[in-house]
C-alpha cells in the first residue's frame, strides 16, 4: 500500500492547484492567468529535467539552456519550413518540415539527446566548478551559433505563425494547450520518480556520494552520469519545444546563459532533488516576475531576496520547508 507521506500529500495539493489554476482564471474571466499557468507547467518540465542531473546526480549543469533552446529551435525550424512550404532538404532526398507536435517532440528529444551525449562525454570527465564552466561554454557556443545563423532569424529569432497541431486537440485553445503541458509535466514527474526509486537511481545517488566505492561494486560512474545527463537534457528539450509553441516564437534568448540560470533557480527555489520542487520553483519565479514585474523593472531584486532567503534558511527549498527532510517512500 502506498503511504501518503507529508511530501506526497503536498505534491498532490500542488498538482491539483496547478490543474485548477486555468479553470479558476476562466471563471474569473482572467485568461492571462491561463498563459501563466501554462508557462509554469512548461518551465517546470525544464526544471524536472535539470533536477534529475542536479538533484539526483549532483551534476551542476550551467548549460541546460542549450537543450531548452535546441528543443525550441527543433519546433521552430520544423514548423517554419512546413508553414512556408519549403523543404528543409531538397537533395539528395526531400525532407519537409512538419507542424505535428508528436514529430516535433520526437525530433527535439533526438537532437537534444545527441547533443547531450556529445557535451556530456566531454563535460563529465570534469567535476565541480570545471563541470559548471564547461557546460556553460558548450551552451554559449550553441547560443552564438544561433545568433550568427541568418537562415533561422539569427538574433531576431524565428516566428511560428500558428501553433503546431496534436491530433484530436485544439492546440490554439489556451486550456487545451495548458492540458497538453500539464499532462506532459505529470508524465515527466512520474518518469523522474520511477528513476529515483529504481536501481539506476540508487546507483546514481551512490555515484554522487562516492565514485570509487561505486566502482568497487562494478558500476562505472561515468556511464550512469552520462545516461542521466542525456535523459535530463531530453526532458529539458521537450520543455523548450512546448515553450516555442506557447510563445509561437523562438529566439537565441532560449539558449542564453541566463536561461540556464533560471532553470537552476526553479530547482533551488523548489528544493533540489524533490519531485515537485521544480513545479513550486517555476510557479514562484513566474509569480514574482508577474507581480513585481508589474511594479518595478527591478523585479529580479525581489527574486534575489527570495532566493537568498531559501538558500540561507530553507536549504531544502520550499518543499523542504513545508514537508521537512526528504523521506524515502
Amino acid at each position: 500500500m502506498v503511504r501518503l507521506s507529508k511530501e506526497n500529500g503536498l505534491n498532490c495539493v500542488l498538482a491539483l492547484a496547478l490543474l485548477a489554476a486555468p479553470f479558476v482564471a476562466t471563471a474569473l474571466d482572467e485568461p492571462f492567468y491561463i498563459t501563466l499557468a501554462t508557462r509554469v507547467a512548461i518551465l517546470a518540465i525544464a526544471g524536472v529535467g535539470l533536477n534529475l542531473a542536479l538533484g539526483l546526480g549532483g551534476l551542476v549543469s550551467f548549460g541546460h539552456a542549450a537543450f531548452f533552446g535546441l528543443g525550441g529551435y527543433a519546433a521552430g525550424i520544423l514548423a517554419s519550413h512546413a508553414l512556408n512550404y519549403e523543404p528543409i532538404l531538397s537533395s539528395p532526398f526531400e525532407l519537409n518540415g512538419t507542424t505535428q507536435m508528436l514529430v516535433i517532440w520526437f525530433v527535439a528529444l533526438l537532437v537534444s539527446g545527441l547533443a547531450a551525449l556529445l557535451i556530456g562525454f566531454f563535460s563529465l570527465r570534469t567535476s565541480g566548478v570545471y563541470f559548471i564552466m564547461i557546460t556553460l561554454a558548450f551552451a554559449q557556443m550553441i547560443y552564438y551559433f544561433a545568433i550568427s545563423w541568418p537562415a533561422y532569424g539569427g538574433e531576431d529569432g524565428l516566428s511560428i505563425y500558428v501553433r503546431n497541431v496534436l491530433p484530436g486537440v485544439n492546440t490554439m485553445d489556451p486550456i487545451s494547450f495548458f492540458m497538453i503541458a500539464f499532462v506532459l509535466l505529470m508524465l515527466v514527474i512520474l518518469f523522474s520518480s520511477m528513476i529515483k526509486n529504481s536501481r539506476f537511481g540508487a546507483a546514481l545517488q551512490a555515484a554522487r556520494q562516492n565514485d570509487e566505492r561505486l566502482a568497487t561494486v562494478g558500476i562505472h560512474p561515468f556511464g550512469i552520469r552520462l545516461t542521466t545527463f542525456v535523459i535530463s537534457a531530453m526532458i529539458t528539450a521537450l520543455s523548450g519545444a512546448l515553450f516555442a509553441d506557447l510563445n509561437r516564437f523562438v529566439s537565441p534568448d532560449m539558449l542564453a546563459w541566463h536561461m540556464s540560470g533560471e532553470i537552476m533557480v526553479f530547482v533551488i527555489l523548489g528544493g533540489v532533488g524533490r519531485l515537485f520542487g521544480p513545479v513550486v520553483g517555476a510557479a514562484l519565479f513566474i509569480l514574482i516576475e508577474s507581480v513585481f514585474g508589474g511594479i518595478s523593472e527591478y523585479w529580479m531584486f525581489y527574486l534575489g531576496l527570495v532566493l537568498l532567503g531559501v538558500v540561507l534558511y530553507a536549504r531544502g527549498g520550499v518543499i523542504g520547508f513545508l514537508a521537512g527532510k526528504e523521506k524515502h517512500d
Binding site: R199, Q209, N210, R213, A215, T216, V217, H220
Partner: protein, 228 residues
Amino acid sequence: MSFLTVRGLETFYGPSQALFGVDLDVNEGEVVALMGRNGMGKTTTISSICGLVKYGAGSIEFLGQDVGPLPSHRIARLGVGLVPEGRRCFPNLTVYENLIAAARPGDWTLERINNLFPRLKERFDQYANTLSGGEQQMLAVGRALMTNPRLLILDEATEGLAPVIRQEIWAAVRDLKRTGQSILIVDKTLSELLPVADRCVILEKGTTVWTGTPAELTTDIENRYLGV
C-alpha cells in the same frame, strides 16, 4: 582451480614503494587469510587487486585474466567483491538502496542477505548513516555479496566492532565458507581468523614472507611476523 594469482606485485604511491613483491593465490572455495603487522601492505595488496591503485610491476590474474589494465568497475564485474576497510556504505542511501544499487543476478538475493543478517531486514528503510557501526559493516558485506562475487575480499571487517557484533560477522563468514564462497580476508583477530582460514599468507615490509596452512603457523612465525 586458482581464482586469483598474484605474482611479484610491486605497487607505488607516487615515488614511495609500498609493495616489493607480493605473491598470493586464492583457489576456488578457499578462505585465505592475508596477515601481517600494520603498514606491511595488506590493504595496498587488496587495493591493487581491485584496481584502486595501479601497480608498477608483477602480475594479477583473476580467473585467468590479467586485471592490470582494467578499471576497478570492470574488475568488480569479473567477480571481485570488496568489503573495504572502515565500513564504507553509501551514507545517504537507505539500506535497501545500498543493497540494490549494485545488485547483479546470481544466488545472492535480498532474501539471502536477510537470512544472513536479520538485523538488516529491520532497518531496510533507514539511511545507512543512521545505522550502528556493526550494522554498517553487515550492510557493507551484504552489498558486496549482492554483486554475486566469485571472490569476496574482506578488509578488516570486524575492526572496531563490539564483541557481540564481531561474533555475528564471524558467524556469517563461517556460513559463507560452508557455501563454498572463495574469500580473501584481512583481520587482526587471529583466534577467529585461523579456524576459518584454509591458508595464510604473511606480508612483511611489502613482501610475501610466509605461506602455509593455519596448522603450520608456529608460535615462532607468529612472534616474528605478527607480534607487536
